[in-house]
């Protein structure tokens, strides 16, 4: 059990973490999400007693980390994959850590096997790839068979097989009743691994709930309804009928209707009784990624701009024609996250997350008012 109360960390004028309170419970994988620079790593370092909080405190099993008896046997952490002396072999590195807490050398070979590094155990870690470094870091975390585990972005640099392995490892560790706290900036990864989510943005708590609740709280489920384009009056008629029945109806740029608050069968019934034919009636669910993007929109510190290449523009080679720019027909109008399907795209394709591509188009002002709070609080 990790418990943070009013955790605040300031570096000079910059506040990295502000008034963060949360609990990480045993027996579940708790995801710790936030955009780059949100304060995830700072929080993890404070949990491990590496950084002293400016205000507030954080405890593990009721004690500050520095006062834990034999900390390596109780808490295992992967902070930084490359936090290893490059000239030392993987095995020597782990052995030096094992000796600190009276862990036998046998255990070192065991964890090397668990993370799949036994082949390179005698090699200097200087030559390790990022993925191998991550595996070594995970081995160090597992070394003391601890009840509390912290992983800072464990899947960075891992191959698909490695990602799957980490995912299963986390779940297995949690199933054994351990406390597992995993940070990531990828919602899609957390959706598959975590049971509980703690989302922060600009060092402040945005959300602390189970993954299931997170989806139902944040996803904007809607139905897309399309009436024959040749008969616009049918569209008006249906729109009125749906609004009367208590649904919210919005027009999409291409003439389809976006309906929220009504189940699909009822929409069909209403259309039938209003004598309107439907060309499309499809369920849509916002992915977790979309919900996360929407939530952290106002809290993204590092936003990319278009590369102007001023003064660096080179003549394109002879015969090169720049691709036709596609002009977006209508700017994003509402608060809803998923964009309308682009022309030519199969509207029934579904499944593929569309939000990442759409994100840069969204003006920051589209963020809901409550998400701009971190600004005001400073």
């Amino acid at each position: 059990m990790i418990e943070a109360v009013g955790l605040t960390k300031r570096y000079g004028a910059k506040t990295a973490v502000y008034n963060l309170s949360f609990q990480v419970r045993p027996g579940a994988v708790t995801g710790f999400l936030g955009p780059n620079g949100a304060g995830k790593s700072t929080t993890m370092r404070m949990i491990l007693g590496l950084d002293q909080p400016t205000e507030g405190h954080v405890t593990i099993s009721g004690r500050p980390y520095r006062q834990l008896p034999n900390a390596p046997r109780q808490v295992g952490a992967l902070l930084d994959a490359k936090a290893v002396h490059g000239g030392r072999s993987a095995r020597s590195h782990l052995l030096s850590l094992a000796q600190l807490s009276g862990i036998p050398a046998r255990r070192v070979d065991e964890v090397l096997g668990v993370v799949g590094l036994q082949e390179v155990a005698k090699k200097r870690s200087k030559g390790f790839s990022l993925g191998m470094g991550q595996r070594l870091g995970i081995a160090a975390a597992l070394l003391g068979d601890p009840q509390v585990l912290l992983f800072d972005e464990p899947v960075n640099g891992l191959d698909p097989e490695g990602i799957l392995w980490v995912r299963n490892l986390m779940k297995q560790l949690a199933a054994e009743g351990r406390t597992v706290f995993v940070s990531s900036h990828l919602m899609s990864e957390m959706a598959l691994t975590a049971d509980h989510l703690i989302v922060i943005g600009r060092g402040q708590l945005l959300s602390d709930m189970s993954v299931k609740d997170f989806i139902s709280h944040n996803s904007a489920d809607f139905a897309r309804v399309r009436t024959p384009q040749t008969e616009p009056q049918q569209r008006e008629k249906l729109s009125a009928a749906l609004t009367e029945a208590g649904g919210q109806v919005m027009s999409e740029p291409d003439g389809a209707l976006r309906v929220t608050g009504l189940p699909l069968p009822q929409i069909s019934d209403l259309a039938h009784s209003a004598d309107v034919r439907l060309w499309e009636l499809s369920p849509h669910q916002a992915s977790l990624e979309e919900a996360y993007m929407r939530m952290t929109q106002g809290a993204v510190d590092y936003r990319s701009t278009a590369d102007q290449k001023s003064g660096l523009m080179q003549q394109p080679p002879m015969g090169y024609l720049p691709p036709q720019q596609q002009i977006p027909e209508v700017p994003q109008q509402g608060w809803y996250a998923p964009p309308p399907p682009q022309p030519g795209q199969n509207p029934y394709a579904g499944g593929a997350p569309v939000a990442p591509a759409a994100a840069p188009q969204m003006p920051p002002t589209a963020a809901p008012a409550d998400l701009t709070k971190p600004e005001d609080a400073r």
Binding site: L50, A83, H85, S92, Q99, S101
Partner: protein
């Protein structure tokens, strides 16, 4: 709480499993002994060219230790790297997460490294003395002569203290590059040059290396060297104070700052 013997064992594993330990310590020994031997041989052949005053205060023990001027630099590199690579590699976060008691961590690390430096320093000191004396021929002294054993043991202590001082500085500066950039020119150039400038001499004789190296002289103020207001042990004491201050500073920095 990580127990001190466990941390000592762990630090010993850390120090023996990197190659920089081997090459810095081996070069400290080889450079000191080789240069000491070369200068001893040179002085034997040019002894008659020395001025009468220099001949009168000829100190065969001190001559055989001439190699320390270069050899100590390898000790500085050893001391700096032992601490500095923790910071440059990021290992410090892993180490401090494993040993949250920072005093235990840093003093265990420094104890292990200093013990090793001291052992190598002693070996170097005895080796360079005996080889130097063998090459000095008729001008030699023996280990049984007055104060000679003190000078030879002092030479080993001097090397250990140089490494210790460097570890303290590296802990304060938290960077190998910065520490080497300051310590190397200081010991190799600044200290040596200031010690031969008339006015600066009075300050320079309190520098750690200038004060500490007095322990290696058997003949006081040998070979026209500067008269010091402290004895051989006094000089070593000054060096100990320097090392202690550097260590204290390093500990306070480590304790106060975020890793």
């Amino acid at each position: 709480m990580a127990s001190v013997p466990a941390v000592l064992r762990s630090e010993w594993t850390k120090i023996r499993t990197v190659s920089s330990t081997t090459w810095t310590l081996v070069s400290a020994l080889v450079v000191t002994v080789a240069m000491g031997a070369a200068l001893s041989a040179l002085l034997k052949s040019t002894f008659d060219d020395l001025s009468p005053e220099e001949q009168l205060t000829f100190d065969p023990t001190f001559i055989s230790f001439s190699g320390m001027i270069l050899g100590q630099l390898a000790m500085v590199v050893f001391g700096v790297l032992v601490v500095g690579t923790e910071y440059s590699s990021g290992m410090i976060r892993t180490s401090l997460a494993a040993v949250p008691q920072r005093a235990t961590f840093i003093f265990s690390k420094i104890t292990v490294a200093t013990a090793l430096a001291l052992a190598v320093g002693m070996a170097t000191s005895f080796l360079t003395f005996f080889l130097g004396q063998a090459l000095l021929g008729e001008h030699r002294t023996t280990i049984g002569a007055d104060n000679v054993l003190r000078a030879v043991v002092g030479g080993g202590l001097y090397m250990g203290l140089i490494a210790l001082f460097s570890m303290g500085v590296a802990t304060m500066l938290r960077s190998s590059m910065l520490s080497l950039g300051i310590l190397m020119p200081f010991f190799f150039l600044v200290s040596q040059i200031l010690a031969s400038v008339p006015k600066a001499k009075t300050v320079a004789r309190y520098f750690p290396d200038q004060a500490g190296s007095k322990i290696m002289q058997v003949v006081p103020d040998a070979m026209g060297s500067d008269k010091a207001p402290y004895g051989p042990w006094g000089g070593l004491g000054i060096m100990v104070i320097w090392a202690a201050v550097a260590l204290l500073g390093g500990y306070l920095v480590l304790k106060k700052r975020d890793a």
